[in-house]
Every structure is written in C-alpha cells, then in structure tokens.
C-alpha cells in the first residue's frame, strides 16, 4: 500500500512538472519580428543584435535547459577571479555557511544549556533575545562591514547571527522541557552535573536542538545568497548578481534552481540526523 502511494505521488509530481514546463514553453513562444523592425537598414539591424541570441522577454525552458547543460557540463572551470564554475561558487557559499553555522553552534549550544537549566538566566536573558531575534540578518551587514572591516568576515558574521537564535531558543526550550522524572531519577542516583548534562539532558533534548539547527541552516542558506549578492566576489549569490548584470535570465533561473537543490540537500541531511536522535517514550 505504501509503495503504491509513493508511486502514485511520483507520477503526479512528474505530471505537475510536465504541465509546468509545457505551460512555460507555450507562454514564452517568441513573437514574430514586426514588419517595422525589418524596415530599418541592415547595419542598424546588426548593431541591434538581430539574428543573434537575445534575452528579450522571459526565457523559454529550452534556453534555461541549455544553461543547465552549459554550466553543469563544466562545473569547476576557473577563468579568473570574477568568472568561476558553478561548483566552485557553491563551494564558496557552503564554506561560508558552514563556518558561520559552526561558530553559532559553538556559541548557542552551551549558552542554550545554561539558559535552559536556570530559570533565572531564562528570565534575565529573555528580553535581549527577544529584541535581537527579529532583526533581519542583512540589517547587520553595514554594521559588520564597518566594524569588522572585511567583507568575508562580515558574510560569516551575518550567517553566525542568523543561525544563532533558532539554535539558542530551541536548545533552551529543549533543555528546560526535559521530563522532571528523569532529572529526579538522576538526582536520586547522585549523578554528577556534567554526567547529568551529557547522559540525561542532552539525549532527551537532542530532537528539539536538532530542529533548531535545521531551522538555522535553512535561514543561513537563504541569507548567504542575499549577502553574497551584496558584497560580491565569490559564491552562488555573486553568480546570480553577475548574470543579472548581463541581464542573462536563463542563467539566473539556473542559479535559482541550484540554490533550491542545495538548500533541499542540506535540509534532507538534517532531517536524517534528526531521525537518528529521535526516541519514543
């Protein structure tokens, strides 16, 4: 029964995809060249790029498809500092996201533990967290550029600050929500605090913590694209900006799809990890 449901869902997915591409194809059929355009002289027509591949209007799925083939067939080329293959660009973005995310983890998990275990700390730090949490990570960018004086570090800082809050809050929430019974059992057995933290609280709070990490990663991946479009240099966000600079929409659509695919892969990774630590009571 389950396989047939999966199968039927897959067929439906494919159908929706085919419909989408078909509609797109029909909607982007190039209109015929108007007679007026042909009236002007030959040199003018040539200077206007008649006959050449033009970007006029929304690109057809065929054009986007050829962009996929072009970039994916050679993902690691390097034509200088401002023109690198998609593989290298995604690599740069992942590196930035990874660094910022790890830093946030090193900071958020211990702090979240402390906050979760102490009602006093929860109350004391809550106003700060509540104020800092809703700030758009990109709003930090000018401040970061100004104080850190390095766009690379600023990018990582922005990832750090946006990954921090979901992890911190979820860790605190998870730690605070560990069943009283288990903590009481640990207390009766006179388990030392460190052992209690690692062997009782951590496994109990792990699913909530991982949910926080998963949310953080999702946000970080969204933010890195915007940050790279802003400061440029390298990364998938820069790739989008560079192609937009050439008004090359097929390439922009290609990059958008890649961003989606990588984001999905990251999310699936955390989903698997989450399954690994989930337990049933």
């Amino acid at each position: 029964m389950k396989t047939t449901l999966t199968f039927r869902a897959a067929v439906l997915s494919l159908f929706i995809f085919a419909m989408f591409i078909g509609t797109w194809h029909l909607a982007t059929q190039a209109p015929k060249e108007s007679a007026a355009a042909q009236a002007v002289n030959a040199e003018y027509a040539e200077l206007m790029g008649k006959g050449a591949e033009k970007t006029g209007g929304f690109p057809s799925p065929e054009k986007v498809g050829s962009a996929f083939v072009k970039y994916l067939s050679d993902p690691f080329y390097d034509n200088g500092p401002n023109d690198k293959g998609i593989g290298i660009q995604v690599g740069y973005s992942l590196l930035r996201v990874g660094t910022g995310f790890l830093l946030a983890m090193l900071f958020a998990l211990p702090l979240g533990f402390v906050i979760g275990m102490s009602p006093l700390m929860t109350k004391a730090l809550n106003p700060f967290i509540q104020i800092l949490k809703p700030i758009s990570p990109l709003a930090w960018m000018p401040l970061a550029l100004y104080t850190l004086k390095d766009s690379e570090v600023s990018g990582i800082f922005v990832i750090f600050i946006c990954s921090l809050w979901p992890m911190l809050i979820n860790t605190a929430f998870g730690v605070a929500g560990v069943r009283r019974d288990w903590i009481n059992v640990a207390r009766t057995l006179e388990v030392n605090p460190l052992r209690k933290a690692f062997l009782v609280i951590l496994p109990a709070a792990a699913p909530t913590i991982l949910t926080g990490m998963r949310i953080s990663m999702g946000i970080a991946w969204i933010v890195i694209v915007a940050a790279e479009m802003l400061v440029g240099g390298t990364g998938i966000g820069y790739f989008v900006w560079n192609e937009w600079n050439n008004l090359a929409l097929p390439n922009v659509i290609f990059a958008i799809t890649m961003i989606g695919l990588v984001g999905m892969a990251l999310d699936l990774g955390f989903g698997t990890l989450q399954k690994f630590v989930t337990y049933r009571e």
Partner: protein, 447 residues
Amino acid sequence: MSLINPFDPNVKLHAGCSCGQHSSEAEHLEAESAALNRRMVENTVMRALFPQDVERRRFLSAVGVSTALAAISEFIPFGALEAFAQDKGPLEKKDLKIGFLPITCATPIIFAGAADFYGKEGLNVTLQKTAGWAIVRDKVLAKEFDASHMLSPMPLAISMGAGSNATPMVMPLMENTNGNAITLHVKHKNNRDPKNWKGMKFAIPFDYSMHNFLLRYYLAANGLDPDRDVQLRVMSPPDMVANLRSGNIDGFIVAEPFNQRAVYENVGFIHALTSEIWNNHPCCAFAASEDFVKHNPNTFAALVRSIMRATVFVNKAENRKGVAAMIAPANYLNQPPTVVEQVLTGRFADGLGQVRNEPDRIGFDPFPWHSMAVWMLTQMKRWGYIKGNVNYKEIAEKVFLATDARKRMAELDIAAPKSTYGKHQILGKEFDPSKPEEYLKSFAIKA
C-alpha cells in the same frame, strides 16, 4: 594626514602642508620621498667607497663636507643614480587587490589586467568585480582593496567625509572622459524637450557621481528643479535597464555599456550623450587612500605607470575593437561583445532607427585636472551635499594629483597640459575655476 581639523588650536590652517614649507600636501610628500631617495643613494655610494666607517669619518673631517661632496660628485653621477633608484625602487607590495565596476569607464584598469601591463611592472594584481559604488567605498576604507576604480567625485567626497568617515584619498589619474548618456524609455520618443519632463523619474548610479551632477545641471539649465520637479533614484545599472523595461522609471543617466544595452534590449533610446552636455568631461577615476600611497610609494608608482600605459593604448581608435573583445567576457564586463564594441568605437544604434557615428563617445585621458575637481565641489555645494565654506583649491590639489600625473606622463612620453587649471564649457556656460563662489551664485536653481 586628513583634512586639517579647523577647530584644532595646534594646527596651522593656512599652511599648505603639514610641515608648512610646501604649497600642498602632495608636494610635501613628493619632496619628502625625493629627499629620502637621495639620502638612500648617497648612503649606498659612501658605503661602497669607504668600507671602513672610520676611514670615511677621517676623510670627511680632513677635507670638509662640501669639498668631499664636490670631489665625489665629480666622478659619481648622483642625479642619474637617484632617478635610477626611483625607477627601480623595490616594490613594497606585489600582490594587490583592485576593485572595479563592470562598466566601460574601467577599460584601462581592466585592460591593464587582461593584457598584463601590471605584470610588466612586477605586480600581481587581482581585479575584483564589485557590485556597487557604496561597496567600493567600504572595501577601500576597510583596506580590502589596495586601490580601486571610483567615480571621480568619490575621492573628493571621502576625503571631506561627505557620505563616509573622512579618510584622505588621492586620485593619481583619471580613467575616462565622456562615456555616459541619458537614456529614455521608448515611449518618450516624441518627448525630447527636457522642459516638459516635470514629474518624470530618473535613475542615477550614485549621489557622488558625475552622472548625478551632469543630470542635475542639465535639468536645471532647462528650468527644472531636480529636487522638486523630478524624482532621482539611486540604482545599480542592470536594475536601471530592468526598471526601464517595466516602466518604473522614465529614463536614466549611467555609464556605458548600460545605455547601449537598453537600446540593444529594445527598451530605450539614447536621448543625449553626456559629451553633448560637457565635451570631455571627467567621469571615472583610479584612486587609493593616502595611507596606501605613503606606505607603498614604489608600488603605487608602478601601478600608476601600468594604468597610464593602458590608458594610452586603449585611447587609440585602431585598438578599440580589439579592446572591446578583450573586456566583454564574463570575467570582466559580462556583456554582449557588440554592445561593448558600439560604445568603444562610437558607431552605434541610437534606438530610434539611426546609426550614429561619434568617435568621441568615450575617451581615455589620464590627466586629473584640478579645475574639474573644483567644478565637482561647486556642484556638491550647489546641491547641498557639502555645506559651509569650501576651500576649493586646497581640496582639489590635495586629492587630484595633477602635478604628479604630469611628471609621470612626461616619463612615459605622454603629452600633458601645461596648467592644471582650465576653463570649461558646460552647456555653453563658461566655468572659471578661479571664481567658484561667483560661479555658484550665477545659478538660479540650487538646493
């Protein structure tokens, strides 16, 4: 050395430079480095002549310093050695990061990289494409870029602290002249008289840009107040083309190739080249912080030499086609080659069905006229970007290194103007750099 703080009781306000013996800071720096150079050469020679220091001292005290100097000068050509030292001075920094925006104004900077003019001077330059002027400014101030392509009013504004923290900048050479245009949406084909443009929306690339000043000048000359009668919005060039297509703006003034790109995309036409407003007006520049120049004088000189050579090369009409092909790929401008070629050769489709032939559509001339800096300052003051008393000449001479440029141009056999001040004709009105305040007063429309 920043602009002198006029409220500091310990500084001399009227002296030209920090030591007070030179008319400007640039000249002071030049003299200082020349003196240092001479000392270095003399030191080397004396050490070679007298391996034992005791002997040198004995010799000097026996014959006296002036006699000794005369005697040694007789057979050692100090002057030539000095020039030699200056030319071959060791580079303080070889790996450099230079920012640029993907526009044809940056042609000399890009071409010097593409044809490896930097390498011939022993420099290893990474050209970093940047997303906007504000980022260029921030990256230069953060020292991420050693030097950068900038709009020529930017180093003036940054030095004065307009739109940023005051950081002294220098501009050793101009990149290009002309090379911009006013583009309008095709629906304004029959709306060519600027007097009827009330209520229209225009995009400009940056506040501190020649584009902004020229458009404002043009509108004001036609009786429109650019702050009240039209809307001016800061936008990045590709956004301008996209917004023109969707009709969010009526036109824009920007560097090439984006005017030509709008034509190529069938969304706009070229209303006027900026050369029609002010022929040979300055546009973009190459600039670095004074701090960088002070710590890396030889590197800076090598950098300026390579870009000056590139400027001369790309300015020749016969080279333009090849240059266009070199700078069009994705690593640099990332534009269709025909669009770049139309800009550089000046034979282009205007978007109205005509092929125009304007060889002066863009020019490349490295000389940073002081008078042009003064004009920019008058316009900044005119539109309220800077306020109060402006010491036009002092700022212009501090930032635009025209004297220095003339010397370097002479070294490379490039003809340079005799004076660093000239009178300019802008829409038929003469600008006299010696009377900036009177010039300002002559405008009926100002902020």
